[in-house]
């Protein structure tokens, strides 16, 4: 009994400290007049090509807001502080960092990484801590498999529409409509593989071979021989850049030269052209930003493309990241507060056109961007479909593999 009061005192002290910490975390988000926004992105690891350009896009939005004096809230303007962590392309690390950002750094919201393997764990943490999370560069259907979501939002392309572009673009040239798919066993590879198989007949195409393999596969020569034997003239791949580089070398060695070759997730970065040189010529990919679309700040992002070494998906990632951040910042200003419920509600009311296009979220918290097909031509990527003003001619057969 005598010891009992000491335990009660200890418990009360711990409870007081916890309450104080919670209050501190809640208010730390705006300590010193700053709003903390966090992001866990892949600056290293297999998905590292996305990291620096995501950071560039987020920072551009933050710098823009802070240059204007900060975000306008009900009680005055407050500047934004961006906290960036490197999740090393590891989903477990991403989840852990999300908790750190929300709970220790006091982030009022997080901005996303790239690809479902990273964005889904980040979304799940947002759902657990009940604070908003806005992402892009994450195909929406694969992302929705991690839902349902109440606090997480994704503005990117719908795979159903994206997996039509390869067939639509290939129809610009003559092919025998025979398709070979190369997909890895990641979530997006599985989803895309099924959608391409589903979409092909609608456009008059036939999947004659579907090669599925784990990430890290190095030898594709058997699959290339299979595709060649079956007469495929359209190649569609969904794989990470290191694996795709090996595949492209082995296709050239096997003298397999399709009419069109799409490399999704692999040729969607400037490093593709640098790694393969002339071999990259003619690789096509689905793209979510082109200057020809004429959405806000097209000229500005074209200028960024030049600074990054030329037109490629690198600037598309910058535009996507910038858009996600602007959606979040506009929502904060509409809410007039960083209160989680108000902010989350404001994100849901988004209805505006951004560099990626018109953004309006559906009930399941996704919004779809327009999607285009581009092709690597002499070290840069150019729009080939749809045939907007300024689009280039689709080169076929694939020049780099000839």
């Amino acid at each position: 009994m005598r010891k009992g009061w000491r335990w009660m005192l200890l418990a009360a002290g711990v409870a007081a400290m916890a309450a104080g910490a919670a209050a501190t975390v809640g208010s730390a988000a705006r300590a010193g007049g700053e709003i903390t926004i966090g992001t866990s992105i892949p600056l290293t690891g297999a998905l590292a090509p996305f990291g620096p350009t995501l950071k560039l896009g987020y920072q551009r939005a933050v710098d823009e807001v802070n240059a204007a004096g900060g975000l306008k809230l009900a009680d005055g303007r407050q500047k934004v502080k961006l906290v960036v962590l490197d999740n090393k392309s590891d989903p477990n690390a991403a989840a852990a960092e999300a908790r750190t950002l929300y709970l220790q750094n006091g982030a009022v919201a997080l901005l996303g990484a790239a690809t479902p393997p990273l964005s889904i764990p980040l979304s799940k943490v947002a759902e657990q801590v009940h604070r908003p999370f806005v992402t892009s560069v994450t195909p929406v259907r694969a992302w929705l498999t991690g839902g349902p979501y109440k606090w997480s939002w994704d503005f990117f392309f719908d795979e159903l529409q994206m997996t039509q572009r390869q067939f639509q673009a290939s129809s610009l040239v003559h092919t025998n409509k025979k398709v070979v798919l190369f997909t890895d066993t990641e979530e997006d590879g599985v989803v895309m593989g099924k959608l391409w198989t589903q979409n092909a007949p609608r456009f008059g195409y036939r999947i004659v071979a579907h090669e599925s393999f784990p990430v890290g596969t190095t030898d594709f020569s058997k699959y290339v021989a299979d595709a060649k034997a079956k007469g495929a003239q359209v190649l569609i791949a969904q794989m990470i850049p290191p694996d795709a580089i090996a595949l492209w070398k082995q296709m050239k060695a096997a003298n397999f030269r399709p009419q069109t070759a799409f490399c999704e997730k692999c040729s969607n970065n400037g490093a593709w052209g640098k790694a393969l040189g002339k071999l990259a010529n003619g690789t096509s990919e689905a793209e979510w930003w082109v200057p020809e679309a004429g959405f806000p700040q097209s000229a500005a992002f074209l200028g960024i493309a030049k600074k990054l070494g030329g037109r490629s998906s690198d600037v598309s990632v910058v535009a996507a990241a910038y858009t996600a951040a602007k959606i979040l910042f506009d929502a904060i200003e509409r809410a007039g507060s960083t209160d989680a419920d108000k902010l989350n509600g404001a994100i849901g009311e988004t209805n505006k056109t951004y560099p990626l296009g018109p953004a309006k979220f559906a009930a399941d918290h996704h919004a779809s961007t327009p999607i285009y097909a581009t092709q690597w031509q002499n070290g840069q990527t150019y729009l080939v479909y749809p045939r907007l003003k300024g689009a280039h001619k689709l080169l076929a057969p694939v020049p780099g593999l000839g």
Partner: protein
């Protein structure tokens, strides 16, 4: 037939990758967890040389091999040698630390973007028994066999080789015979790095590389040497071929997502039936 041909050819590459690993273990009983980074580091050095000079990647080995060996010698002499006498764990942890440092350095210097060593023989095919295979696969087999043969000759015919085998057999006894064991250890590590340099450049030419590529190749290298017999030079070649064929057949019979399962199941079976590996543990 495709699987057998590809498996044998890739076995040569795997042997080139794993040879340095078995050498270091055979002499010093050291499991070098930084071996993957030696492979990748050499490939990056080659990349830097090729980018600036336009030299062919395999020709760049004339510069890469001595550079990597010279860098490796002091690492063994100054960092690992003092730890070797303290049991197995300290050098193991040290090499793990070195691998992390190396990976970070690769990111800082070369970025995380995937890179490739480009050469015409990497994108040209050759017909073997009706199967078209990349020319570089054939070159890799040739280089792998040549490295194994040269290493065997060096260990059995050269004075340094005899000193190395003596140190491997009994370091204390070798020291009493006047052999500078510390130098032998450092020279062995440098030689292992030189062999890894060849493997690394072949990886960069045949496939691609990123700062973390070394990890998967280290695992593959271990599988090769454990199957072939740790410390056995010819066993490494045999292990490489066995792993190459097992990967190819595993992917064909069970699906590509199971090829690792097939390889490691084979490894377990071999270890249960013959714990010393196919060719035992002997440094020749």
């Amino acid at each position: 037939m495709h699987e057998l041909i590809n498996g044998v050819l890739l076995g040569g590459l795997y042997a080139a990758v794993a040879l340095g690993l078995t050498l270091v273990f055979g002499v010093m009983r050291l499991v070098n967890l930084a071996h993957g980074e030696l492979l990748v580091g050499a490939a990056y050095v080659s990349y830097a040389i090729v980018s600036h000079t336009g030299l062919d990647p395999l020709l760049s080995l004339t510069l890469v091999v001595p550079a990597v060996a010279l860098a490796a010698y002091p690492i063994q002499r100054l960092i690992l040698n003092p730890l070797v006498t303290h049991g197995l764990e300290p050098p193991l942890v040290a090499t793990f630390g070195l691998s992390i440092v190396a990976q970070t350095a690769f990111v800082l210097i070369f970025t995380s973007d995937a890179k490739s060593l480009n050469a015409s023989y990497a994108v040209t095919g050759i017909d073997i028994l009706g199967e078209t295979v990349p020319q570089v696969y054939v070159i890799s087999l040739g280089i792998g066999v040549a490295l194994v043969a040269l290493l065997h000759l060096g260990l059995t015919r050269l004075r340094f080789g005899k000193a190395l085998r003596a140190a491997a057999e009994d370091a204390e006894a070798a020291a009493t015979l006047g052999i500078d064991v510390k130098h032998v250890y450092a020279a062995t590590f440098a030689l292992a790095a030189a062999l890894a340099a060849v493997g690394g450049v072949l990886i960069g030419v045949t496939f691609s590389l990123t700062p973390t590529t070394g990890t998967s190749w280290l695992l593959r290298g271990f599988t090769v040497i454990v199957l072939g017999g740790m410390g056995s030079v010819w066993g490494t070649l045999a292990g490489g071929v066995v792993v190459g064929i097992a990967e190819q057949l595993g992917a064909t019979w069970f699906g590509p997502q199971y090829h690792d399962l097939v390889v490691f199941s084979l490894l377990v079976i071999v270890l249960v039936l013959r714990p010393q590996g196919l060719f035992g543990r002997k440094l020749t």
